[in-house]
């Protein structure tokens, strides 16, 4: 299930041209962004050098990939500065970067030119184990270079009324993973606790635990059931720690003050993220019809600000799927207008203690926006710099969501300099 997207139909600056135009922006971060924009394709030669005993292979994930397939490929890449690139396997016809072997080493190449030598993600030891209930631990917690991801449930209720976020393929990918790999759609807290316990036996391997799942609308109040699920899972994870709090991130729906307080007080959670996805009322209504109907743009923002009172400045964030604000049928026709509007809203949030990060939008075949093209590299570079500058201006930390604790936000990669 792949879609042939024609690349470079627009006039846009190349990687080298962007790097030359923005000399204060790190080239390695520009490389990361461009690799995420265009995806990667592994050459046969590089796949021949992959060692499944050493390298982490693709494990269950909340979202699918640009090639629409579940294949035994390396999970992702690391650059020489420690920067993580979460990669998307991409059909060769869509002009991805290549992962190849150069002088016997893994390398990113483009048009026959060496871009950077890279490392493949190392496989954690627990990936070879199963829980007492017989589930592969890699299906319970997927690893990043320094983070554990727990996707406790992968169904999103917004999809029930065809109001899923337009860039998202969570439900189609969940079905595919369940059918092809047997990944459970809902995790048992006991399995999560056991997997975390095993992961902690590898000293130095992890610095953060991130939980996320689809939105659950049920409960006495909107999202009550979702919060219940998270509390149950976080409490199970907490059994493995000597301290009440442990470095952690929850990426959930927009909760009310009571729900936020419950999460903070009853669990070891240290940070809270709730993704607005786009920072503009009109774009939000178009890109996130479910979020728009049930909470609304301003309601979502308001709840983020409430969270600052509970979790503290620097511990609350919102994520953008950057580029979707420029999708067809969306809010902005020009990158300049989209950038200005996004940064203005991000500043409003930063003033109130909410930090904004973005991921590069990958148009996936299982999503409503499947056949579209993401924004230019220059746009993403300017957005990363703009969000970073706001964090510097307002003294906002992003420790819980930086290059190491997450690794999927070009803007928070820059916080290594703060």
């Amino acid at each position: 299930m792949s879609v042939a997207v024609k690349w470079r139909i627009r006039e846009e600056l190349s990687l080298d041209e962007v790097v030359e135009k923005y000399p204060r922006f790190p080239r390695l971060i520009a490389v990361k962004i461009d690799v995420q924009r265009r995806g990667v394709h592994y050459t046969e030669r590089s796949l021949g050098a992959v060692d499944e005993k050493v390298h982490q292979m693709r494990s269950p994930y909340l979202f699918g990939s640009r090639d629409g397939a579940i294949k035994p490929l390396p999970e992702s890449l690391l650059l020489r500065d420690g920067t993580t690139i979460l990669t998307d396997p991409t059909p060769q016809g869509q002009d991805p970067y290549l992962v190849d072997l150069v002088d016997g080493k893994f390398a990113l190449t483009d048009g026959g030119k060496l871009i950077e030598f890279i490392d493949l993600w190392p496989k954690p030891k627990y990936y070879d184990k199963k829980t007492s209930s017989g589930i592969p631990m890699s299906h319970v917690a997927s690893a990043r270079p320094q983070r554990l991801n727990i996707f406790q449930s992968s169904y999103c209720h917004f999809w029930a009324e065809d109001r899923g976020c337009r860039f998202c393929d969570i439900v189609t990918h969940t079905k595919q993973q369940k059918d092809e790999v047997g990944v459970p759609t809902r995790l048992r807290p006991e399995d999560v606790s056991e997997t975390v316990r095993e992961a902690l036996k590898e000293p130095g391997r992890f610095t953060n635990i991130c939980l996320t799942a689809g939105s659950v609308l049920k409960g006495e109040e909107l999202f009550d059931r979702e919060v219940d699920f998270y509390i149950e899972t976080l409490q199970a994870i907490g059994e493995n720690f000597a301290t009440k709090k442990f470095p952690s991130q929850l990426i959930g729906s927009a909760y009310n003050e009571r729900q936020l307080a419950r999460l903070y007080e009853q669990t070891g959670l240290t940070s809270y993220t709730s993704d607005l996805e786009v920072l503009d009322q009109r774009a939000f209504d178009l890109v996130c019809p479910g979020k728009s109907k049930w909470v609304g743009y301003h309601g979502w923002k308001e709840r983020l600000v409430w969270a600052v009172d509970i979790f503290g400045r620097g511990n609350v964030g919102t994520g953008l799927v950057a580029g979707t604000e420029l999708a067809q049928l969306s809010a902005f026709a020009s990158e300049d207008n989209a950038l200005a509007a996004t940064l203005a809203e991000a500043e409003d949030l930063a003033e109130k203690g909410v930090t904004t990060v973005y991921i590069v939008w990958v148009p996936r075949p299982g999503s409503y926006f499947r056949d579209q093209q993401n924004a230019s590299l220059e746009y993403y570079v300017q957005l990363a710099q703009g969000l970073h500058d706001l964090r510097a201006k307002y003294g906002l930390g992003v420790d819980f969501d930086d290059y190491r604790r997450c690794g999927n936000h070009p803007d928070s990669d820059l916080s290594r300099l703060l």
């Binding site: 971060i29 500065d81 190392p122 320094q146 000293p203 130095g204 290594r416």
Partner: protein, 156 residues
């Protein structure tokens, strides 16, 4: 152009009695120098700097160096008067993987409950003998004018 460290310098760096100082530049171009005992030499002759503090100024400066092709300097002082200055470039940082995990365990065995943020690989491109006697004879050979006349005066 990478410079090879001699066995004498490598042994000196690994001697616990040796003092090492790592000098970096901050975002304003101001120098920052720290005394450190976490510099090693790997099998390729590169310096390894174990950074224990993610938020340290040195760590930030090393990130800036690897991003913008900056250089750093390491001064090495031995108990027998040896003095070396090694200049180089950070070429890689390990924040995960076997090398990182190995050093994570090592520093915790040596120091107790500490963190390891990164293992920086610094490739030497300049190595200079900074012992005073060496530098003095070099200067007198290259700059004979750089001396006070009284040092040349006839003694009665």
């Amino acid at each position: 152009m990478a410079k090879k460290l001699t066995k004498d310098i490598i042994d000196l760096i690994h001697d616990p009695a040796t003092t090492t100082v790592l000098a970096t530049l901050d975002g304003n171009g101001f120098p920052e120098a720290v005394v450190t005992d976490t510099i090693r030499v790997d099998e390729h002759g590169n310096l390894l700097y174990l950074e224990l503090l993610e938020s340290s100024g040195t760590n930030r400066n090393l990130v800036r160096s690897i991003w913008f092709n900056g250089r750093v300097a390491v001064a090495v002082g031995g108990k027998a008067g040896e003095r070396w200055q090694i200049k180089g470039r950070p070429v890689k940082t390990h924040i995960t993987g076997d090398l990182f995990l190995q050093h994570y365990q090592e520093v915790r065995e040596q120091r107790g409950d500490v963190e390891l943020a990164a293992v920086w690989v610094i490739e030497p491109d300049e190595v200079a003998d900074e012992r005073f006697e060496t530098r003095k004879s070099e200067e007198e050979r290259a700059h004979p004018s750089f001396r006070h006349l009284d040092r040349l005066a006839r003694t009665a």
